[in-house]
Symmetry: C2
């Protein structure tokens, strides 16, 4: 298979699809908009999942599994929720060869079925908080799809928690947002803006939606994770009450939150270049690839001896590596192959290195080469992976900073959006104003950052405003 | 919630459902036959999954994810397969508010969609073997459902491998069968019979099906895992060919194999008793529960001090434990609670033990008590968990041995089946004979054990036969 891909600068969308397919991350399934996550892509997802799962468990959450099928009547219980999700659902009408008496919706998200179960399980304040997470597939019928970013079916985790009071639920929603920020920044090397969503962008059924939002390589925004304070909306819809400490019945307070395989799309677009993927080391399937360069069997055995010592040291440090000693491809082919696949560090060992007991380390991001004695190298690989992570993060952060502008009027705003930037501005408009702006520029409010204490003038309405918001075009 | 359950001897089916619900392993979902796997049940599944996943990866398999939706036309490509599975499928007819032009089947198993993708990925012998596994939900429309054993939706893993020749595929099918045997016996403490399925019991689309089969506490058989040699059936159905080393086109050879959340049902029925679950330590969410017994704060602080030393030692040994120091329940309540939940070892610490620097260990299976000095105890817990595992296995094995009989004629056969035993017998009958026996006795051939070299007379046909098979009633 040819490894040539469209240049990023030439056609960003085409570049993205080329990378996904050439790096064998994913492929389109036979049904329009469905995705096959190939082993290399799935290995990234497993790493993301294991990290997030550990963070959820460390904060008291447990996993469970709820059914795929939601009775139509359940979907309809929460008015905003059904309005938001029902139109994009897949519906099962037949089962076991017969027409069903009630159609079943395939979960687009599981609030309704989970709150139907919570009604059975929650009786008293002693049953609270209930902190449940689920790893699952969900289906949303999308018209315009793109691998990882928007597909008819995707994998995600969805947390659904139940609390005895509003403050605790609010704290939970924000605790998870902070976990998502850490996941994005400390593991995916993807800097994110953190804040609240505007009314028009919030989850269907939420009181407030919080989000992490990242800038991609084409300067568009990617919503990378959301956490919702649901108030008592679903408790009321499903009549879930509990006896509080004063022995009075109260509706339960709720949150829900999720990140999905979309994060893999974020990684690709936040870091990739014209040679393909650049993977953040903490989620890369292989952090190091070793490519031997030999011409004959005596070189080969000398190199293999060095590699044996190297891999033993890597194993001891739990560094994930792959020794690509296949005979059917040339070293040059392997270099391209692993550059396309984004492996952070490549180690080259030829006869000269083997004789001198040295190895060459090549960084995927900078393509710089460094020759080191083996003993020094094995001690420097782990720190180098950390440096690699920090550099990736800093580069993405700098890119975002350089491409974020503050504007004072709509003319400046339109120009900045036209240039494809993130725009910061004082905002005093309402939902209708936001809709008009989206209509005219395709930009939406991505987040309303926390902790603001400035006052100014809304760039759009000219009214006085106490909030700066961030607008951008988004995926 | 009351913890009283139906006695096992009184009504086995009712006992089973009581245990599943009182131990909070699972609950029925709102749609008939669907299952909610609750956190305690899911934690068992996570342990099983992690063990199996490690074994698959250690033998060269990688994970991937394929779509939930299978176009109707794909289901119909393999004649036996569609005949076996289509009648029990759930079918999506509407998506995004519109009627679909082609109905979509929700995967009952993924051979068809995976082989449609393999056609794109496999070109040459260099692409083989392809050793892919998937962890996923599948849907089979079941009329009579039982939690974990038979539900409309369940979780499983399904391996789908592609090979360049028949022998390699056959070896793969058997390698996986051996992994399944290890999983059942070495981790779930559930002895299994290993062998081939008869023609009438094999997977729809397979050439040969292998299985592990266990005896439950009511002496019925549970098919606990299957591994199929698929020959070239799916390769032919989806036209998947490869260029072999001689540069000739050949159809690819295949296997598929799976274990599911049904294994949790197996654990419950293989080991449980009138007090509830008994969990095999290697998959128990908690291997040890610690219950403190105090009357006042001074006792409490003394006990907590001992517990701190104990839990530090358990942590260092990676023993999974829970310290149940909740104030709202009595020690007696906790004993019942954790007996119902099957925790292998209970540690009791009262003021007397704390003063003497001792702890009491109670085994869930035998309910025997043993008081030990703390230092000795922390060294004995890990070996005791191994002993516990071996004892559970031996007990189940002995039970199976005691309840397996060899018969020589149909009269003896009917009597033994009536008594609910496993029956070993020489078999020379055909599929029609097997069907008649099932009709008359509800018993089926569970496995045809490997490596047989005896000859005898078929108990049913009176013909000479060279195979002993095992018949039983099954779940």
């Amino acid at each position: 298979m040819s490894l040539s891909i469209t240049k990023r600068s030439q056609d960003y969308a085409k570049w993205y699809t080329d990378v996904v397919q050439k790096a064998e991350l994913a492929d389109y399934g036979p049904v329009k908009g469905t995705m096959v996550i190939r082993p290399y892509g799935y290995a990234i997802w497993e790493n993301i999942r294991n990290i997030a799962d550990r963070m959820f468990k460390a904060t008291g959450h447990v996993n469970a599994y709820f059914p795929l099928f939601i009775p139509e009547s359940y979907m309809k219980r929460e008015a905003e929720h059904v309005a938001g999700f029902a139109p994009e659902c897949a519906v099962v009408t037949h089962g076991g060869g017969k027409k069903l008496t009630e159609p079943l919706y395939i979960r687009p998200t599981s609030e309704t079925i989970i709150w139907a179960m919570y009604k059975r399980w929650i009786k008293s304040y002693r049953d609270l908080p209930l902190l449940i997470n689920q790893w699952a597939n969900v289906v949303r019928w999308e018209m315009r799809t793109r691998l990882f970013l928007r597909t008819t079916e995707f994998l995600w985790q969805e947390g659904h928690t139940a609390h005895a009071d509003a403050r605790e639920a609010e704290e939970e929603a924000q605790r998870i947002l902070e976990i998502y920020r850490q996941l994005a920044e400390d593991y995916l090397a993807m800097p994110v803006l953190v804040g609240q969503k505007s009314e028009s962008q919030k989850f269907a059924g939420a009181v407030r939606t919080y989000a992490i939002e990242a800038m991609m390589g084409d300067k568009k925004a990617l919503q990378a994770g959301t956490s919702h304070f649901l108030g008592q909306n679903f408790a009321k819809a499903f009549d879930v009450t509990f006896l509080n400490r004063e022995n009075q019945l109260e509706y339960v307070w709720a949150t829900s939150w999720g990140v999905s395989t979309r994060l893999i799309g974020g990684i690709i677009m936040a870091h990739g270049d014209d040679k393909g993927l650049i993977l953040p080391p903490r989620v890369a399937p292989y952090q190091v690839v070793i490519v031997p360069i030999w011409k004959n069997d005596s070189e080969k055995s000398q190199i293999n001896e060095l590699v044996a010592r190297l891999t033993e040291a890597l194993q001891a440090q739990q560094i994930r590596f792959y020794y690509d000693d296949s005979e059917q491809n040339t070293p040059g082919w392997k270099f391209n192959h692993w550059e396309m696949r984004g492996t952070p560090l490549r180690i080259e060992i030829g006869p000269r290195e083997a004789t001198q007991n040295k190895i060459v380390i090549v960084r995927r991001d900078q393509l710089t080469r460094q020759m080191l004695p083996l003993d020094a190298a094995v001690e420097q690989i782990a720190p180098l992976l950390d440096t690699f992570h920090r550099d990736l993060f800093q580069k993405a952060l700098q890119f975002r900073t350089e491409n974020t502008v503050t504007v004072e009027n709509y003319h400046q705003f339109c120009q900045a959006i036209e240039e494809g930037r993130f725009v910061q501005a004082f905002w005093g408009g309402d939902t209708a104003a936001e809709a008009r702006i989206q209509e005219e520029t395709k930009a939406t409010i991505r987040v309303i950052p926390f902790e603001q204490n400035q006052k100014g003038t809304c760039f759009y309405t000219g009214k006085s405003a106490d909030k700066i918001v961030v607008f951008a075009k988004a995926y």
